[in-house]
Amino acid sequence: MAGTILSVDDSKSIRQMVSFVLTNAHYQVIEAEDGLDALKKITPDVKLVLSDLNMPNMDGLELIKAIRANPDTKFLPVIMLTTESQDDKKQAGKAAGATGWIVKPFNPEQLIAVVRKILG
């Protein structure tokens, strides 16, 4: 396995699509429904987080801030996978500590390329 990726999205279809794409690219994928669920599932094996922005309970920005606030996960790459494309959203994400920004719909091959770029 090339690495473990945490996919965070309140949309089951997106989660499962991300999981399918990355699993076939030989990555292990863990799914979470929102930010709170994601924080429970982050382990040292997780090397990358793909997170939606708008989610119930804890949205993507709050999740990033929580991840960055934890010394154990301070440098964990987090890529936003969202329908939001406004630059102020991107800047907010970047300021919160996001590693990248993918606007949906995503191209599966491009997603794999980005993940490989991040994880090596």
Binding site: D9, D10, S11, K12, S13, I14, Q16, M17, F20, V21, N24, N54, M55, P56, N57, D59, F75, P77, I79, T83, E84, S85, Q86, D87, D88, K89, K90, G93, K94, G97, A98, T99, G100, W101, I102, V103, K104, P105, F106, N107, P108, E109, Q110, A113, V114, K117, I118
Partner: protein, 738 residues
């Protein structure tokens, strides 16, 4: 920006029977019920995509059967073998011709030998005559009678021996000549026949090689086409899979609609005129959004149908091409180049064998001549001995004759004659030896050729046939895969009906909303128009999705211009995402979004295409990776790089500018990801103009011209546009690495 409402909140809201609760619940239910269908469709299509990708790799692998590295390809092997075989055959035939020339020389030597045998015979006869004369003289010899008699008898005996030796030599000579003459005649005939067969076989084999080469070239070209086609199929399915992500978009937009509807006041009777207008505008906006969703679902249904149908067509086209390649007959139904080639190779091998056999036969004849020469050598040696003995007898006779004085003069004369004969015979013997020496030289060369075997490279014709058989089998398997792929895609196409059903459900709800909207219409139209202008500034925080903003702008665009200008907006009140408002007029710089572009604009505002289809480069929001602070072990001096550090001639961005913007001086270390295929390369999938009526195309074109260009990302300002243009180019226009 409103947070997404949880299902629990909506359910609770529905239980208190808000005026819009039933509609909200129906919308939520419709979206929720469709999720599994979208999910199944997406998963199945991705599995089909994997199968298509696998098929593409297998088709590519078939090329390896022919296109090996350097000499490992089958064509190279065949060509090398055929060429080598032809060369060996030609060489063997040339050698046989040389052997025949040697045979000719041997025959000439043997003829010379034969003539000299006649001379020997004459010498023998002369000696016999001398002996006879000596016998006659002995009658007159008186006291020398005995001596004369002995000399005569000895001389006659020696003459007989010479005759015997001569007869033997003649027989051997005749035998050798006859055999070599026969061998030469046979060899010449065979050489001529083999030469004609070689020419014919070489031509046949060369022709077959050409045909096989053409077949292989044709097959490789077809494999390349099939490979490309298979790649296009995979890409097409990939785009359809992206379209499946529409459900997430749909879900969020319905959530926003539901949230907006549930925020509306329950008691309409208590509303003021202004609040009534506000309420109406809210419902109007949600109705417009719902209508938009219905249209997009309709478009999605049709475009997905068309896309899948097109992909199925492409698959069947690929299958047809593969079928053409699987057969070895590509030009003439009766031709079988591979079988012809194998037959030609077999005939070459036979020719080679026959040529070598011919040469060996000639060499065997020379070996037999060598044996005869050895026998002749013995006869010649005995003749030499005889000659020597004749000389000795002659000398003895001379000595004895000298003792008898004048009476011995006749014997001396006869003895001198014997000495002469002896000399002549010995000279002949020397000549015979010389001839035998030459003959031995010739036979030695021929025997050397007999022993020189050529080890030929072997070509298992069975391997050649197996390669072509394997090629045909691989292609047949690929054809079968095409059937399975097409059937699976057709099944998924039939399964798209749920999108139409979802559309109908939403259309019913939109119609109901429309009825209720008509009931809500306020009487004061001027007040309504006035409030419409201010509506956007109050709601911009809610509508963060491009589609929602686009719907509102369309509503605004339907307002008469006079109505807009008559209501002077306050400085802080701007039209919802007003593109024309100068930046200085806005209190909050973050509200100045500059040129606003639609993200995946609705189909009617663009050329009809798959929802979520990969946009043309540089036109839409994309993927960005930010320069996030990372531990030193993860990031080394710009290891994660921004796309704006890359220079492209098309974009015309200077490396200085991009580096300054990115804060990163390293450039060009990111591998370019294969961008989506340009429109012109795949017109049948990228643009759906082909599948729309001309009237629709014209309407869509005019809509596109009236509105903003589709799918371009938000740009905070002109100075940042080069950055955006280059940031997105590697992974796609919707991806950015910070």
């Amino acid at each position: 920006m409103p947070k997404a409402l949880s299902t629990q909140t909506l359910s609770q809201t529905a239980e208190v029977k808000h005026p819009w609760a039933d509609l909200v619940a129906a919308l939520e239910r419709a979206v929720r019920n469709s999720e599994d269908n979208f999910l199944d469709l997406g998963m199945n299509l991705q599995k089909i995509q994997l199968a298509s990708s696998h098929q593409q790799k297998k088709i590519s692998a078939t090329m390896g059967l022919f296109k090996g590295s350097e000499q490992s390809g089958i064509l190279q092997k065949i060509s090398a073998y055929v060429h080598g075989s032809q060369t060996r055959t030609s060489s063997a035939q040339l050698k046989a011709a040389e052997l025949c020339q040697n045979l000719q020389k041997m025959i000439h030597l043997v003829d010379t030998f034969s003539r000299k045998c006649h001379s020997l015979e004459r010498a023998g006869l002369l000696l016999h005559v001398i002996g006879t004369n000596t016998g006659i003289e002995c009658a007159r010899a008186a006291a020398m009678e005995a001596t004369f008699k002995v000399v005569s008898q000895d001389t006659i005996a020696l003459a007989e021996q010479i005759r015997t030796a001569t007869d033997s030599l003649s027989d051997q000579t005749t035998r050798a000549r006859n055999e070599q003459t026969a061998t030469l005649q046979t060899a010449n005939r065979n050489i001529e026949a083999l030469r004609e067969l070689s020419q014919s076989s070489n031509k046949t084999t060369d022709d077959a090689m050409v045909k096989v080469s053409e077949l292989v070239d044709y097959s490789i070209n077809m494999v390349n086409h099939a490979n490309q086609l298979a790649g296009e199929i995979t890409l097409g399915i990939n785009r359809v899979v992206m379209g499946i992500q529409f459900h997430d978009n749909l879900r969020q937009r319905v959530e926003h609609i539901n949230h907006a509807l549930l925020e509306l006041p329950e008691d309409l009777a208590a509303l003021t005129s202004e609040e009534h207008c506000q309420n109406y505008l809210n419902v109007e906006l949600q109705k417009a959004q719902l209508d938009q969703l219905v249209e997009e679902l309709e478009s999605l249904y049709h475009t997905q149908n068309q896309a899948l149908a097109h992909i199925v067509e492409e698959i069947y086209r690929l299958q047809g091409r593969l079928g053409g390649m699987a057969s070895e007959k590509h030009q003439n139904i009766n031709e079988n180049p591979v079988a012809e080639l194998l037959s030609g190779i077999a005939s070459l091998e036979q020719l080679n064998t026959d040529s070598q056999t011919l040469g060996q036969g000639i060499a065997a004849s020379a070996a037999r001549a060598n044996e005869v020469a050895r026998e002749m050598q013995q006869a010649i040696q005995s003749t030499f001995s005889i000659a020597t003995q004749v000389k000795i007898n002659a000398l003895n006779a001379i000595i004895k004759a000298a003792k008898f004085g004048p009476m011995g003069e006749s014997l001396q004369v006869l003895a001198q004659g014997m000495v002469g004969v002896s000399r002549d015979v010995r000279q002949l013997v020397n000549l015979f030896n010389d001839l035998l020496q030459q003959l031995a030289e010739l036979t030695r060369n021929d025997l050397g050729e007999k022993n020189a075997t050529q080890n030929a490279d072997s070509l298992e014709t069975l391997d050649v046939q197996q390669v072509f058989d394997q090629f045909a089998a691989e292609l047949q398997q690929a054809r079968s895969s095409c059937d399975e792929l097409a059937q699976n895609l057709e099944r998924e196409t039939r399964g798209l009906v749920f999108i139409g059903e979802l559309k109908e459900t939403l259309a019913v709800q939109a119609a109901q909303l429309g009825v209720q909207l008509a009931e809500l219409e306020p009487p004061d139209q001027d007040q309504l128009t006035s409030q419409r202008n201010q509506f956007g500034s109050q709601l911009y925080q809610r509508y963060t999705m491009d589609e929602e903003r686009a719907v509102h702008r369309r509503i605004l665009s339907a307002i008469p211009a006079a109505a807009i200008t008559s209501a002077a907006p306050a400085v802080d009140d701007c039209l919802f995402f007003d593109d024309n408002e100068p930046a200085a007029a806005t209190a909050d710089p973050s509200l100045d979004f500059g040129e606003i572009e639609l993200f995946d604009a609705p189909p009617q505002s663009n050329e009809p295409e798959l929802w979520g289809a990969a946009p043309a480069p540089g036109t839409e929001a994309g993927i960005e990776l930010f320069d996030t602070p990372a531990p030193s072990n993860q990031r080394q001096g710009g290891e994660i790089e921004l796309f704006d550090s890359l220079e492209t001639a098309a974009e015309g961005v200077s490396s200085e500018n991009s580096a300054a913007l990115a804060g990163d001086e390293k450039a060009g270390s990111i591998e370019l990801f294969d961008p989506p295929a340009p429109v012109e390369a795949q017109p049948k999938i990228e643009h759906w103009d082909d599948f729309t009526s001309p009237a629709d195309s014209a309407a869509q074109t005019s809509d596109a011209e009236a509105q903003d260009p589709p799918g371009q990302s938000l740009s905070p300002g002109a100075e940042d546009e080069p950055k955006k243009a280059t940031e997105k180019e590697d992974f796609g226009d919707n991806i950015e690495l910070f």
